[in-house]
């Protein structure tokens, strides 16, 4: 057993027996064990146990709970009652509208900024690492700290950080997260700040895989800088761009931390999102937890996201892998 030191040595045959993988002819328990079945099972066991307990079983249970009324002790089957209760909840359309607003604004702010920054950074010739590190820094700050810090920045009084800065250029103090109209854009602004760095790094990696010959060819054909970006850079990055877009939409559809910590869904439900509503059904209700409704709404969210992803992939397929 000198395998540890020099495993690559071409230990030429004599092969004592055929490799075990090909020796499966009879299917008796003994041959299964001899075949290495036990060790295969032993290696798979942690994965199977953990995923069964904390992934596969909860997925099944989610579907079951959505058709039940349960209060941790007794459980009754109620058919589609949870779903109809959620759909008839006056907060449901508000939460859907707010979530769409968050996702839309996040796309508007958060999608072009990392792309522009990454294209500019990819042309930096000195200290590119510094650029990347600065852009990535907000990503490593714990999100809770980031939100609480920005909550201080958003202080609505004239002495708030942002209001002081606005005061320098003569703009009156804004009420930020305390106003129904400004609360959502304020949340999106913080979220964009916190997440753009990761996308920039992904784009930087994708930009280096654009082959220099293409740029050279474009130059020979007389293309200027903008034409090169439009006809070479963006088409070469389209797969990555499409993937980051769907990932961002899926991520923002599940926004929870910002509305929960900044505003608790207020003011006047202006930042109540779908996930915050799920949380309120299950854990935020002093009258007793409505697990069934929370599960029903969770299931609807998963169903919507899965359907959206499929349509998105189908619609963009021809464009992404031509």
């Amino acid at each position: 057993m000198t395998a540890g030191a020099e495993p690559i040595q071409p230990a030429l045959p004599p092969r004592p027996q055929t490799p075990p993988a090909r020796a499966r002819i009879r299917r008796s328990p003994i041959s299964w064990i001899r075949d290495g079945g036990l060790s295969r099972l032993a290696f798979l066991l942690p994965l199977l146990l953990i995923f069964a307990a904390f992934s596969w079983y909860p997925i099944v249970r989610l579907v079951l709970i959505s058709f039940q009324h349960t209060n941790e002790i007794t459980t009754t089957w109620v058919g589609f009652q949870n779903f109809s209760e959620v759909l008839n909840d006056p907060l449901f359309p508000i939460a859907v509208k707010n979530t769409l607003e968050f996702a839309g604004l996040a796309l508007l702010f958060g999608y072009p900024i990392p792309l522009v920054a990454a294209v500019l950074m990819s042309e930096v010739r000195k200290r590119r690492g510094l650029y990347a590190a600065l852009a990535y820094l907000p990503v490593v700050i714990p999100p809770v700290v980031a939100v609480l810090l920005w909550k201080t920045f958003y202080d609505g009084g004239p002495g708030g950080v942002f209001n002081t800065i606005l005061g320098w250029v003569g703009i009156a103090p804004q009420s930020w997260i305390q106003s129904t109209s400004q609360a959502m854009p304020s949340l999106v602004l913080e979220s964009t700040w916190a997440n753009a760095g990761g996308t920039i790094i992904i784009y930087l990696a994708a930009l280096t895989s654009v082959s220099p010959e293409l740029y050279e060819a474009a130059s020979v054909d007389g293309a200027g800088l903008w034409k090169k970006i439009w006809h070479v850079t963006l088409p070469q990055m389209r797969t990555v761009l499409l993937v980051t877009m769907i990932l961002q939409i899926i991520g923002t559809a599940q926004v929870f931390l910002e509305p929960y910590l900044f505003t608790s869904g207020g003011p006047d439900n202006a930042t109540l999102t779908v996930l915050l509503l799920i949380y309120n059904y299950a854990f935020g209700n002093s009258l007793g937890a409505a697990y069934g409704q929370a599960a029903a709404l969770s299931l609807m969210l998963v169903g919507f996201l899965a359907a959206f992803s499929l349509i998105y992939l189908r619609a963009t397929r021809s464009w992404s892998d031509e």
Partner: protein, 309 residues
């Protein structure tokens, strides 16, 4: 992956070689209009990145040692009435921030260990040992990628409160955070892809030399997988450090909570200066970790993007 290595390579060679060909070619760089236009844009970008990326953290560092009254009345002034170091000791003694950071470390370590054990053994079994029903398991893993973890909060919570088989609640136990962290299909998939690309001849040679699956795993596969182990580890620790909602639900005992769960609770009842000092301490660990492992962080993020793409 080659793209990232390429980027790293180009970065390392940096400005030394003139052969670097990008969007703007070396010949173009010599033209004054390009040099000034692009150089100016890049300098502006750097200034912007410093303000946006570093600014909030610098402000936090300044406010953490500024008297609360100064921060409230004039937040952008730099030490108008001197520094107030008592905020830091207040955060340490009154808020007991050290305890919560230690809790975070304990939670992150356990979650990391669980993720690494599940991902390495599982990926090794699926990739190298290749059982007959491996495809079924891989498919079941891929399916879970389509179910965002947050929607499983309710069933997971009920399971932790009233576990089947074991009739003992796991609320306020770290196992309730450690074990579910292991169920990350993403980890298993990237680990399996890495193992799939290891040369099979080595495994074959080791088998002929008499190495069993366990020996193969410990002496050959794991030592060859250091890069991917590093990436998965960084993401495991970072994700655990960032996690908020799940620890909030299952760790109701304040003395067991991680720092991100504790901070919002104390926000309203703590002096602002002390609170900001506590927040600064809370983000020092990840920032220092990032500065040390910067290259792995950035490569890992690029890699995850390349894999998703």
């Amino acid at each position: 992956m080659s793209a990232i290595q390429d980027w790293q390579g180009r970065r390392r060679r940096g400005a030394m070689t003139e052969s670097q060909q990008g969007l703007v070619q070396s010949a173009d760089w010599k033209r004054p209009s390009v040099r000034w236009g692009l150089g100016g844009t890049q300098t502006a970008l750097l200034v912007l990145l410093v303000i946006v990326g570093l600014g909030p953290i610098l402000w936090l560092a300044k406010a953490a040692v500024t008297p609360t009254q100064d921060t409230l009345s004039n937040p952008m002034a730099i030490f108008p009435h001197g520094a107030d170091w008592s905020n830091i000791s207040g955060a340490w003694n009154e808020v007991d921030i050290g305890l919560y950071i230690w809790n975070t470390v304990v939670i992150a370590f356990g979650s990391w260990l669980c993720q690494i054990v599940v991902a390495t053994t599982g990926a090794f079994a699926l990739s190298v040992l290749a059982p007959k029903w491996g495809r079924v398991i891989t498919a079941a893993l891929l399916t879970t990628l389509f179910v965002p973890s947050v929607v499983l909060l309710v069933p997971l919570y009920l399971e932790v409160v009233h576990p089947p088989v074991i009739h003992h609640s796991f609320i306020n136990s770290y196992w309730a955070v450690w074990l579910p962290a292991g169920a990350s299909a993403f980890n298993v998939i990237i680990m399996k892809r890495f193992f799939d690309n290891l040369p099979r001849e080595i495994f074959e040679a080791a088998r002929i030399d008499g190495a069993g699956p366990f020996r193969l795993f410990v002496s050959i596969v794991l030592p060859m997988s250091k890069p991917i182990l590093g990436v998965v580890s960084i993401f495991a620790v970072l994700a655990s450090w960032k996690d908020f909602l799940w620890p909030l639900l299952v760790l109701s005992d304040p003395s067991k909570q991680p720092v991100s769960v504790r901070l919002p609770t104390i926000a309203g009842q703590t002096d602002l200066g002390v609170f900001l000092a506590a927040m600064l301490i809370a983000c020092l660990v990840p920032i220092v970790g990032f500065l040390i492992f910067q290259r792995s962080f950035l490569r890992g993020t690029g890699l995850s993007g390349a894999l998703k793409g």
